[in-house]
Assembly symmetry: C3
């Protein structure tokens, strides 16, 4: 494969590279018109999203039958992946693992660094390069901001790079969550993504899923957003700037009921108290930002209720039975969207959609 | 698949459902005349047991050769299973895992809840539903009594249920252990299960394997049982009541030697001191309930010595070389019996026995 | 398969067996002219090494294409392996795991004894016998010296033995590391292993990789060795005796630069401070035993720089880009060499090289 971007001196120094705007970096992680590494939600444009959604839909369709599942399982049976998840994660991990299994990718797992050579004083860069020796792809969740990007950058400078997929990196990026959220909207709206009102609710300041999803909204026409949060956890200014720059209208409010009726999708999130500095979450009354059974009669018949899960009390369990509660489907969509992404990276997507 | 039992209001409330007699619950976990969920030893009747044993025997036979193993590995290659083992377990876990591998089932493992979203405050029910999103079956060991049953019940109320197999739940049920114990008797007795005397030895009060196996004995004709235990760890009254109700004769004794000579099978168990409240096991002299080399000359030439393992000192290691010591084969039988069970649940058993 | 060595009384007692010279033990771990268990570097003679290297090369060649990888993945698709790694290990574990995956071997992992029945008071011998019940091979790393050998010995006395591969046992043996190191020399020297000068650098006293590799050097003609180490960590007398016995010339020095220019291969190692009794490593200035960028101009154009990894500071990262730095390839060679070994044990190597 020929690299789209030639290696230049500026790319061979991490600090210089890291400082660049994401749009400048993207070609470095692309080959032959395909994603090579998947690191940022900003890598997904409308055309790519539509292509991935169609692959995911086709994969679901063919795997309804044993023959189709066995066909899917043969597509990447010659590849091996490493799932390197240093941070606790259940659903992202399992979702990726089973996406690999659907495509026949053989998997290795590192989930606990205490079993690793890190105890022998190896640098994180050497550790990751070691992993890459044995496999054809690394799917990585890492707590250090920028570490996944740095790994991909480093790999691309070696003579045996492998694709890196970001499974959640620090507080900043979780691109496949944005991918599955968009895919859920796509399926919920029967493919018609334009002219929609999306309401995002909860701890918007510290929830990376709402941040990433917001980035993707620029791909669609005539989207409007409403942000519903406690005063302390309002959406960060960088996102609001982004929306203004792209002429995407938004409102901010603390009154959930006031925007329920207009929503085409309501995206619920939990309070992110693991990011508290000194228990500030406890000072907040989060209950006005719960979705309750009584709200079902206030929302449109076509409105969908989403949640990245895990939930605490943000959505009453009695809501689950309503057909508009799509968060369990959303979770399962993650597996299919990730399988589509992996198929895309290895160029196997055309063998699915044909 | 059509459900055998229609959903009724009484089934939609867990507390009501849970209180019902097991015999009333069984249809709820059955579909199209097959087990859908495997939760209780009471689900195994003689016909089903015989069918599973024949499947297990056939699977062993065909997998002697590479072609046969590859055929077995293709039967369920379109399915994925989750092994959710919250309690420490080696042999049950490995036995199920390799049973899956024999049939080509792709596996995900959760063995350590510290990597799970439980740390983020998710309910156990949501956690299990998440797991089910990615797979076609969940094999579960859980310390909370009734939790595995509740999971199966809950799954059956959703629009995407998956079969649940109980891999050991609290102190009460471990149905596949009973299955493999019966299978070991079946093989040891060349298929002739009737008219046998079974001697069970050790901590009968707290050993769930002897409890579950006793339930299965009602499936066979003219069985008699002898319970050999310290006074403090005698078989519980509910089991003795069960035997009386089904006219199965039994005796209780503390004198192991007195019943050795009549036994067709001796089922040894270790002291279950992990269930001690305050070290009561230490007050018991367990050595009269050991099987020693010197006992080999006292038992029938056809008598088999079983043990669910792990053992401590209940059976001298010098006994292992005697052909009547079948506990290592018993362990391996577990893998085959579980593979047969999984094949049954997915309706693949006919492709094995044909 | 018929055993090469008949069972004799002396073999049936571990203490007697263990005391024997390794050369006397080897037949016990061999069947039909093939390795059955892989326990000691001394099992590899020149003929076997050449055969394994050719298998590894052939495997790499055919797996360049999807069809070839799928063929490789069918060779041992009827087998299952257990990776029992009680000691922390990343690269050896991953290397073996992916070697299994390349050949289609299905894998089970035990990496944390806290999930095991060892907590229930089972003997280590019973635990290993349990593992063997479910699989066709055990790959084992264990901290207790001699434990892996004892396991293999014990298995061979049962009626259902499985091959045991030593993945690193105590301080003494790590035969597959020696195998991959030799394979790296073989590839670096284009198959011409004779007449070479090998320089080994670092903590030679406690590094088992340099010890094992030294044993293998007797298989080649006109090899000479130079040992470069701090005074406190010189190569142990038993190895020096071994070299004298086999007329392999060697020198010892503390002056790294003095031998750099003659080397055909430089084998770097890190300080093994995990084996310190009381922090003695801290008293040593290890920096004279580092390989730095400035040394690149002092070594032959054909000299290769090796390291078993993980490294700390023994090799500057700026050295990595030099084509003579082969330690990353060495790491990857481990996967291929181990795959070749597994294929050999199961007699599948001829299906690769044909």
């Amino acid at each position: 494969m020929e690299r789209t971007l030639k290696m230049t001196s500026v790319n061979s120094n991490w600090d210089d590279f890291h400082k660049k705007d994401i749009s400048e970096k993207l070609p470095f992680f692309t080959r032959d018109g395909r994603l090579y590494d998947c690191l940022f939600a900003q890598q997904f444009d409308r055309k790519l999203l539509t292509s991935l959604f169609k692959t995911a839909d086709a994969l679901r369709a063919i795997t309804q039958k044993k023959e189709g599942m066995d066909h899917a399982g043969s597509l990447l049976s010659h590849t091996r992946a490493m799932l390197y998840f240093v941070q606790p994660s259940t659903r992202t991990f399992l979702s990726f693992l089973n996406a690999c299994h659907i495509l026949g990718v053989k998997t290795s797992e590192i989930r606990d660094t205490s079993t690793s050579s890190e105890v022998k004083g190896e640098s994180p860069e050497d550790t990751v390069r070691t992993f890459s020796s044995y496999v054809d792809m690394i799917i990585m969740r890492h707590p250090t901001p920028g570490f996944v990007e740095k790994t991909a950058w480093l790999m691309n400078l070696t003579n045996r790079p492998v694709p890196i997929i970001n499974g959640g990196s620090g507080k900043d990026q979780h691109p496949t969550q944005a991918l599955l959220d968009s895919y859920t909207l796509y399926r919920s709206f029967n493919g018609d993504m334009d002219n929609k009102k999306i309401v995002m609710v909860g701890d918007l300041k510290r929830g990376r899923t709402v941040r990433s999803l917001t980035y993707l909204m620029k791909n669609y026409k005539n989207i409007s957003l409403a942000f519903v949060s406690p005063e302390q956890f309002r959406m960060e200014p960088d996102i609001l700037e982004f929306l203004k720059r792209h002429n995407i209208p938004f409102t901010e409010t603390g009154d959930f009921r006031s925007v329920m009726g207009e929503a085409d999708a309501i995206y619920m999130t939990r309070i992110q108290d693991e990011h508290d500095h000194s228990g500030e979450s406890k000072a907040v009354d989060y209950s006005p930002f719960y979705f309750r059974s009584e709200h079902l009669k206030l929302i449109k018949k076509t409105c969908v209720i989403m949640h990245p899960l895990p939930r605490r009390n943000e959505i009453e369990t009695s809501v689950d039975a309503d057909p508009r509660a799509v968060f369990w489907r959303q979770e399962r969509n993650g597996m299919w969207a990730r399988a589509a992404l992996i198929a895309h990276i290895f160029g196997a997507d055309q063998k699915i959609t044909r």
